[in-house]
Each structure stands twice: as structure tokens, then as C-alpha cells.
Symmetry: C2
Subunit: 327 residues, 2 copies
DNA sequence: TCAAAAGTGTTATCCTTACACCCATGT
DNA sequence: ACATGGGTGTAAGGATAACACTTTTGA
């Protein structure tokens, strides 16, 4: 239990840096330096000699490399699976990565973003089945569910260590047969697809698919290493956190209309919200205050502008947006 | 963004192994191998060569070192702050630790526990202010709140990076002035006490206290390194998880009475629950089924015995115990 | 005058919380 | 019989989810 010899390992800090623009949640991606094809999340080394904590280290390399001004930062998870992040240039030294979620305002980084702008990609490119704003995504009914069903059947009673059977897990994750769709299960869904060998990353890692290789259409855009897994974790965490902490405002400009706010929440959670209930929620939580100005940008009646009441954090214990049913 | 040189670091897996016995939540502690005084959590090295994932590595050294059979395992957080875990034998190599929560049944480990039993300590020894089962703990009114108030006053407008002022944070964390006590804020409370220099670990790390050194009474038993912080994280996570996942049953014997179950939940969350409401909750969630037997152990009317319905996980999406108000 | 979006009032329903009372056993 | 804990019915209040309608602008 005490001073056993420990193996030296490299530690990387991988960041899912999120911004919302034009009703689209976007993630900062770094182009593949080698092949130029697959996207990856930006990451930097953790050097304990220069930085006292992970968070300081992260803020430092983000500032240095991207000139982006991140506000909210939160640790997600530490990923260390061998075989799920195989670096092509692997030197034999094992590497683990501490995943972080960071939020930034598009308006904050006017100049910096102008250059880096190409780096912010809509995150639903990587998870097309997660965007239910225009109804149930077609990709679910077309390739995904049938493929999963085949996978579920093919492995009926093979894996006792798993607490749940394949088809039960499929039903839970993807909201089939009574189970409702739970927008927070982003990671569970991705992991299931990975296990079933249906995402490119799984095949790259040498996992067998249940259907002949060539026949699987790409399920979302793949990423390098295990970065799509980290992004799934980030989306899941952000979707959950919205409901009990006022983190949306980290993504909003200083002034916004209530519809702007609703659209942003909808963009992140991937579903529509009930207008009146959303407004009542925001109002009763006293999260915002009117600036007095109005915006005539959208075409119809001018909308009142609001700003985030920074002092709510001092008053109410959990001032999130409990966003209820769909609309 | 790419292949910067990374500093090699040692990675340890630190486990908060929890069991409940005699209505007392207990944590497995390892005695200090050096001084024999301060308790610490058990930990083992992570060796990527022998273990494919953190969890496998963890299960392995726990099995090897303690002969304890852990069921549920969950990653908590990765701790890497320099200066908050200074090992006396520091070799210059930096070390980070990945904290894990593990649950085990006392009844599972009959033989193994007989030997290791001394290692399971009631966790409220380390957090006496977290146990509200016999009403508001005296330690809050006596040394804690006055000390915190002094700290809050002494640092009025000094630290702009912090989003909240000292007294606001104090009020939120400790439920003073309108804010209710939130049993999930275990980590926040510990961190506040640490920041205020009121726990031994803070002084050990060289943090100034707001009151003369000698005058601060010990606030709970201290632990080695940052292990008390990891334990606080574990308790917070477990208290939160109880409410939306049926994890209590990982701590229960195969058969139990509803009162046993309630006492276990109360022990973990540190407060009393309303009997009828608790029962209705358990019943409507269909979490348990009667075995048909009764137990006459407690003195009054014999209680019906129940067992966990393992198949609920297949049916309901979030079968936790939403444990409502106090009683 | 019409389209487009902003903004409001009200009701049915469920869930949460709390009350108070009855039941079965051992001494 | 009485103490001890097991076990239940029911009503008040609040939060949630859904209903439909009015208002203000630009074209």
C-alpha cells in the first residue's frame, strides 16, 4: 500500500473548448498535423514544474497556442485506456490524458477568433444522432438502430461481466421501446456504438464489427485518438450542468434576448423547449434582468434585451435552467 | 498543439473504499507506514504495462493487497496540485493521483474483513460536521462558524479572481442565513475550511491561518497527503449518486428490512428521512421485492425482508432514491 | 394587411411533504 | 398490558406541462 515503484507516464491535458454561434454549438478542433484528415481536440502537456495545478497548466497552453480567452473550466475525466488512444508516434512511453471542458464566448474573442475561426466546428458533425431540434434524426432509424439490433442479437448470452444485456443497454441509451430519449446519455451512446464496432475509432483500435467492414457507413465524423470520447463526455456534462448551474451565460454575449438564450440552450441540449415555460423558469429564477434596450434584429416584433444577473450566484444555491418538456 | 515534449510523471490510484456497518459508513484506511499516526487512503501504482485500464489496475491491487471484494467502482477526479500532497519521501518526481470510489458489502468479505476490520473507520471521524443524524452537529456552532466568520471578515476585498466573496461562499457551503444545508456540498465545505487554514492539512501545506496557530482546535481527524480531499469528493459523489442510481444496494446484504435500507441511506447522507415517504419511494420505484421471510432481530414487530430487484436496471432509466425532505 | 416573432394568462396533473394512526411481536 | 419498532391512508401544497391567445414591428 505504500511506496511501491511507480511507472513514469506522460500526462496530457485535452480540452473540449465550446462556443455557440448562429445557434450551433461548436468545438475547437486542431487539424491533424500528420495526415491533415481527421480532426482532434487541442491538447498540451502537463508540466508540473511550470504549473502548480492542471487548470493553470491548461489555461496557459490554451492562451499561448490559441489566443482564446476561456472563462469557465472544469475537469471531466481522466482517460488512460491502453489501445484507445494509440498515438502513431508512440515512443513506448504510456500517455494518459486529463479531459477538460472549457467554455468561451464568441464575442469575447473577436480578433483571436477571426484567425482561429476555421477551428470551431459544429459539434453535431461528430454526433449527428444527438441533434433532435428538427425532430428525430434520420440517421437513427436508418443505419444506427438496425445495426445495433443486429449487434444485440449476435451476442445474446456471451458476456457475463456486463450487468446488462446488449438489447437492454441499447434500449436505454437510444430510447427504444418505452424508454424515453435522454439527451444526457451522450457518452453512453457513443460507448455503445464503440463496443458494437460501429464507429471508425473502434475499428481503428482493432475491435471487431458485427457486420462486414465495408458495409458500415460512417456514423458521424471520427476524431483522432480517443478525442471523440472526450467530446462525448464534454457534451454530456454540459447538457447535465445546464440544468443546475447557470453555465449557459458563459456562452452568451453580454446582452441577449430571451429567444437567443432559449436557442442557445436548445442548441446545446439538442432539443426544443417550451417557450412559455422556459421564460417563466428564467424569470422565476431571476437569472436575468432587462437592460431596457430592445433588439430589432430578427424580423418580427423587437425583443427586449437582457443581461445575466451575476449576483444570483450569491443568492440562490442552484440557479440552473431545469428545462422541462419538449415543445 | 501537437507533439510537445511531455514530462514523465508517476500516477497513483487512490481508492475510497466504502462499506456500511452498524448504521455507520466506514472507509478503509491504511495506517501511516512511517509515523503510524495519520490515516491515509490505500493506494497503488498504475502500471500501464500490466493493466489495460485504470479500473482493472485498481481492482488488481485492491484484491492483491486487501483481499476485499469490491463491486461498484467509479472514477472521481484526478488530483495533481503541487503542494497539496507533498510526500515526505518525495524523490523529485511529480505524482498525481486518480481518485476512485469503490463500494463493498461487509457481509461479502466475512473472512477478509475479520483481518482487515480494524482498517474500516467511520468516515464521520474525518468530517464530524457532516453527520446531522442527531441534529445539527455541535462542532458547527462552536468552533467552525465563528472561525469562518473571522476569516470572512479578515479578507473582505482582497481576492478578485474568486467569483464569490468569502462570506457568500461560507453561507452557501455551511447553510447560514437563509441557505439550507446541502448534504452534497461535502467537498466545497472541506475546501473552504482548507482555504481558511482551519484544517491541519492546510497548515501542513504552509497555508496561513486567520487565527493564531495554537488556538485552532482540530476540525476532524486529518489524513495524509490530500487524502481527506479525496474522501470528501467520494462522500459528495456517493451522496449525490444515491438519488438517481440504485447504488445503495452495493452496500446492503442480500436480504434486508426496509428500515435497514433507510438507515443505510441515512448513514450515508447524514440526515434523517421521512419513513413513509422513503417507503413509498422504494415501493413505487419497484426497487425491491419481498423475500417472504421476516426478521425478528430488532425487538418490535418482525420486519419483512426484501431483496434488490436486479432487473429494475433494465426497466426504469434512473432508479435512484430521490430522498426528499428531512423528518 | 399580413407575416413573423415577441410576449402573456390559465388550467390540469403529478409529485413532494407532512400529518396521524393502526399492527404484530417480546417481555 | 405495554413498549418497541413495523407498516399504512390521505390530504395540502407546490412544481410541471400543456393549453391558446394578444402584441408589436417590418414588408
Amino acid at each position: 500500500m505504500a511506496d511501491t515503484h511507480l511507472t513514469p507516464i506522460e500526462v496530457g491535458l485535452t480540452a473540449a473548448i465550446v462556443a455557440v454561434e448562429a445557434e450551433e454549438p461548436r468545438i475547437l478542433v486542431a487539424a491533424d498535423p500528420k495526415s491533415g484528415t481527421r480532426a482532434g481536440l487541442p491538447f498540451g502537456p502537463f508540466d508540473p514544474l511550470s504549473h502548480r495545478t492542471f487548470e493553470i497548466g491548461l489555461r496557459n497552453w490554451v492562451a499561448a497556442q490559441t489566443a482564446i480567452n476561456v472563462g469557465y473550466v472544469e475537469q471531466l475525466y481522466t482517460f488512460g485506456d491502453r489501445g484507445r488512444h494509440a498515438r502513431p508516434d508512440d515512443t513506448g512511453m504510456h500517455m494518459i490524458s486529463v479531459g477538460y471542458l472549457a467554455l468561451t464566448r464568441m464575442s469575447d474573442n473577436a480578433a483571436a477568433l477571426r484567425e482561429a475561426h476555421a477551428g470551431f466546428e459544429p459539434w453535431y458533425r461528430f454526433f449527428p444522432w444527438e441533434d433532435w431540434r428538427d425532430g428525430r434524426p434520420g440517421i437513427l432509424d436508418q443505419p444506427i438502430v438496425p445495426l445495433l439490433e443486429r449487434w444485440a442479437k449476435s451476442g445474446k448470452s456471451s458476456e457475463p461481466p456486463r450487468p446488462l444485456g446488449r438489447s437492454e443497454r441499447m434500449r436505454h441509451c437510444f430510447g427504444i421501446g418505452g424508454s424515453p430519449w435522454d439527451e444526457e446519455k451522450v457518452l453512453d451512446r457513443y460507448e455503445l456504438l464503440y463496443e458494437a464496432g460501429l464507429v471508425e475509432e473502434a475499428r481503428r483500435d482493432g475491435r471487431e464489427a458485427t457486420v462486414p467492414r465495408g458495409k458500415i457507413p460512417p456514423l458521424g465524423e471520427a476524431m483522432r485518438f480517443d478525442h471523440r470520447r472526450i467530446l462525448a463526455t464534454a457534451i454530456a456534462r454540459l447538457r447535465a450542468k445546464l440544468k443546475y448551474r447557470p453555465v449557459v451565460f458563459e456562452l452568451m454575449p453580454d446582452e441577449f434576448t430571451l429567444t437567443d438564450l432559449q436557442r442557445t440552450v436548445e442548441a446545446i441540449s439538442g432539443r426544443h423547449l417550451h417557450k412559455q415555460n422556459f421564460r417563466r423558469l428564467v424569470e422565476t429564477a431571476a437569472l436575468v434582468e432587462p437592460t431596457g434596450e430592445t433588439s430589432t434584429a430578427t424580423g418580427g416584433r423587437p425583443a427586449a434585451l437582457f443581461r445575466f444577473r451575476r449576483d444570483v450566484v450569491q443568492e440562490r444555491p442552484a440557479p440552473g435552467l431545469r428545462l422541462g418538456g419538449r415543445s
